[in-house]
């Protein structure tokens, strides 16, 4: 029954900008601080205080606009969005309404390195964040934390171009990647620095007219967005199949129950009484500013992808994973600069490093393990100082503590023995003690040789250079045969 309908989805995405200070005052923009410590008369909305735009906010918003191929409006305005809520101390949010910072953008979704789908961006505007209510079951009242009040946001509104919950998730992942690349936000949904509301409607396939849309809120992860929308598709389809009508409403997603429920209907919808913010002059973005930002733009993912497959001869698979996180891509490039073996670097990153990252559940940019560490590790392997197996051990140790691999090798005595004289003694000793195996070997038993190599390794606690050991054994055994 579902496939008689076409799904139409549009998104409103809020992204906190990664500035040092807030949008209109010098307070720190920092997540996780003690409640109400990053506040001042301006962000608390005290009488007599006035907003002054943090210019870095504009720079980051413009970087985002350019990354999303938007047309930047040379003249835009701030507007007041009026409503009462305890987390909004001025009882209005400074936002943009009629004249947003940017519009008419788009984001390409890629499949195997090829553009597969284009999602249009209707507008991108600047606004300030509100505070946060903290509900505590043991009290009949709630607390308010104003730390987030005045944190700069961009709101990105897409056209209703998305056609399935899964595609919506892909879009969000691509958007997140793009914004990470544009270096405008850390885009952490779990910390609220990226938030998403969705408008969704169904229409019979082949019709042009849009169905009645419903807004879904409170989806706090990419997975939740997909699940919430999937639920909503089923809900709306069931109503339509029974000949019912979809109400114009806002619904809330309940992650625990896996359902949406009515939040407010059209009749109770806010009238925000927008009007131009008289405390701030119009936002003028002249050609000089725009070209300065354009020339300082960080490299965007598709360019990097192309460069990585061309310059480093990475496979599409390797390049795809490495560029998906700009910090991982940075890590790759910096390591390669120190140790020019792109394939080896990629293999270590995609194998052991990603595995360890997953285990400790952290981001590569916050690790004490740096590109110089990985480069040194590869150097130790190449120089025959440690074996591949020892290298994994050293990596694990270096990973969390950030200690240099060479130091770990020295401290723990993990260095490979490549001294022929030293190894010759051990080999002689092993041959003496294992005359039975030597005989087996001479009779042509293949695993006897492996056993002898293993015995040498055991005697050196795995530190013997296996190539030299093999050569020495070969020489001695061949010699004794003659």
């Amino acid at each position: 029954m579902l496939n008689i309908y076409e799904i139409v989805i549009g998104l409103e995405v809020h992204v906190e900008l990664d500035t040092q200070s807030k949008m209109f005052c010098p307070c720190a923009n920092r997540f996780g601080a003690t409640p109400n410590t990053n506040v001042c008369p301006v962000c608390l909305g005290l009488p007599g205080s006035l907003p002054v735009l943090n210019e870095h906010t504009l720079v980051l918003a413009l970087q985002a606009a350019l990354a999303l191929n938007c047309r930047v409006n040379p003249f835009s305005r701030f507007a007041r969005k009026n409503y009462f809520y305890p987390d909004l101390p001025k009882a209005y949010q400074i936002s943009q309404y009629e004249l947003p910072l940017a519009g008419s953008g788009c984001l390409e979704l890629f499949k195997d390195g090829e553009p597969a789908r284009k999602v249009n961006i209707e507008r991108l505007h600047l606004e300030e964040d509100a505070g946060k209510l903290l509900h505590d079951e043991s009290h009949a009242f709630s607390h308010v934390d104003y730390n987030r009040c005045g944190v700069p946001l961009i709101e990105i509104v897409t056209n209703p171009d998305l056609r399935s919950p899964a595609e919506t998730r892909l879009f969000l992942e691509a958007l997140r990647r793009m914004l990470l690349y544009a270096r405008v936000s850390d885009c952490k949904m779990e910390e609220g620095s990226l938030r998403c509301d969705a408008n969704i409607s169904l229409r019979p396939h082949g019709t042009k007219e849009l169905g009645q849309k419903v807004e879904i809120k409170n989806m706090n992860s990419f997975k939740a967005v997909q699940r919430g929308l999937e639920y909503e598709v089923e809900r709306q389809a069931a109503i339509l199949n029974q000949g019912g009508r979809i109400n114009q409403e806002t619904r809330r997603w309940h992650e625990d129950k896996g359902v949406t429920s009515e939040m407010r209907t059209k009749e109770k919808d806010h009238d925000y009484r927008y009007f131009p913010e008289p405390d701030l002059p119009p936002l003028v973005v002249d050609a000089a500013l725009l070209s300065k930002i354009r020339s300082n733009m960080p490299e965007l993912p598709e360019f990097r992808y192309r460069r990585f497959t061309a310059d480093y001869a990475l496979s599409h698979y390797q390049a795809g994973i490495i560029i998906s996180d700009p910090y991982l891509a940075d890590f790759f490039e910096e390591t390669t600069k120190l140790n020019n073996q792109p394939q080896k670097v990629a293999n270590w990153l995609l194998g052991d490093v990603l595995k360890l990252l997953k285990q400790v559940d952290t981001d590569i940019e916050t690790l004490p393990f740096k590109p110089s560490h990985l480069a040194e590790l590869l150097m130790l392997i190449d120089g025959g100082k440690i074996s591949g197996r020892t290298a994994k051990e050293v990596l694990e140790e270096s990973f969390s503590a950030g200690k240099l691999p060479a130091e770990i090798v020295a401290e723990k005595g993990l260095g490979q023995i490549s001294d022929t004289n030293e190894l010759e003694q051990v080999v002689d000793d092993v041959l003496k003690k294992n005359s039975a195996a030597v005989r087996d070997h001479q009779e042509g038993k293949k695993n006897a040789f492996t056993f002898l190599v293993g015995s040498v390794m055991k005697a050196t606690r795995g530190k013997a250079n296996p190539v030299i050991v093999t050569a020495l054994l070969q020489g001695k055994l061949d010699g004794s045969k003659q």
Binding site: L44, G45, L46, P47, G48, S49, L50, P51, V52, L53, R80, N82, F84, P86, P89, K90, A91, Y92, A140, V144, D271, R273, Y274, F275, P278, D279, L280, P281
Partner: protein
């Protein structure tokens, strides 16, 4: 009293409890023009904490006082001397203006057709902005907070019902209405357009004239508490002064005579940031009219009744 409303952006609004942000300007209210200039010298200047503050070189206003006024050009707009202005009041102002011409000030009658829009435009813009500016007095963070009932809506309603007076509530309701969806275009947007028209008219006048001279109010000063129950008459008494707020131009009001024992104000509106020459002109007028002595005499008589 001498009152000066500086050019919008000359005096920082940081710390000023906002009423109508695009109109609000802090200005001196003083006994005479010299004090007015002295206070302005202190309070004027750029402030980076007010984004509407204008960055320009600081001036020394008191230094303008006593300067020659010969050759200054003043425009007398017909609209400010006719209908709605009490005849005795406009006569007193005209009489004072007549003295200016003897000092060598060139006078000419002009017309500012957009004047009729000033009052409605002002009361739409001002109340709209006030409804937003006064929304923060909601009982959550500071000030009065009436918390008898266990609902957020009741807290808002009871706090604001108890905390605001009748005139404030009237203005909040007017402004909220003007900004409401479906009415915005008809009221707020139209008011902003009227504001532009008035601004253009003023600019045109200031191409040829230094000042616009008008009565400060349609009547002589009224007694304390005399008319507070009649809001419309109160709004109408602003009719002469609000154009200066709407255009952002500076304006000075000085007493220029008396009607029925109460002082009559004369208003001088000038070009943006021309406060220096306006004060120079007003200082000269104040001297010529000998108004300070006459004010002291009246204050003395009133004093006896107390």
């Amino acid at each position: 009293m001498v009152g000066l409303k500086p050019t919008y952006g000359l005096v920082s609004r940081y710390g000023l409890v906002a009423f109508a942000s695009s109109l609000d300007q802090i200005g001196p209210l003083t006994r005479d023009v010299r004090d007015c200039a002295i206070v302005l010298d202190i309070i004027a200047g750029y402030d980076r904490w007010d984004s509407t503050s204008v960055c320009r070189e600081k001036e020394h206003y008191a230094a303008y006082l006593g300067g020659e006024v010969r050759g200054f050009k003043a425009a007398l707009p017909l609209e400010y001397f006719g209908e709605g202005i009490e005849k005795p009041v406009s006569d007193v102002v005209m009489d004072a203006v007549g003295r200016c011409s003897r000092l060598g000030v060139e006078l000419a009658e002009v017309s500012i057709p957009s004047t009729v829009y000033a009052l409605p435009a002002y009361y739409l813009v001002a109340t709209a902005e006030a409804s937003s500016n006064l929304a923060r007095y909601d009982g959550i963070q500071y000030g009065l907070s009436v918390r008898g009932k266990a609902s957020l809506l009741a807290l808002y309603q009871d706090t604001r019902k108890e905390g605001f007076g009748a005139e404030v509530k009237r203005r909040i309701m007017l402004g909220t209405y003007a900004l409401s969806s479906g009415y915005y275009d008809a009221y707020y947007l139209k008011a902003m357009k009227m504001r532009t028209l008035i601004h253009n008219d003023f600019e045109k006048i200031f191409k040829d004239y230094d000042f616009i001279v008008t009565p400060t109010a349609p009547t002589a000063a009224f007694k304390i508490g005399e008319r507070k129950d009649d809001p419309l008459t109160m709004y109408l008494s602003d009719i002469c002064t609000i154009s200066a707020n709407l255009t952002g131009c500076p304006a000075v009001s000085i007493p220029c005579g008396f009607v029925g024992g109460m002082p009559v104000g004369l208003q001088v509106i000038g070009r943006p940031f021309d406060e220096g020459r306006m004060l120079q002109f007003c200082y000269c007028l104040e001297e010529t009219l000998g108004i300070k002595g006459r004010l002291v005499a009246i204050a003395g008589e009133e004093g006896k009744e107390c």
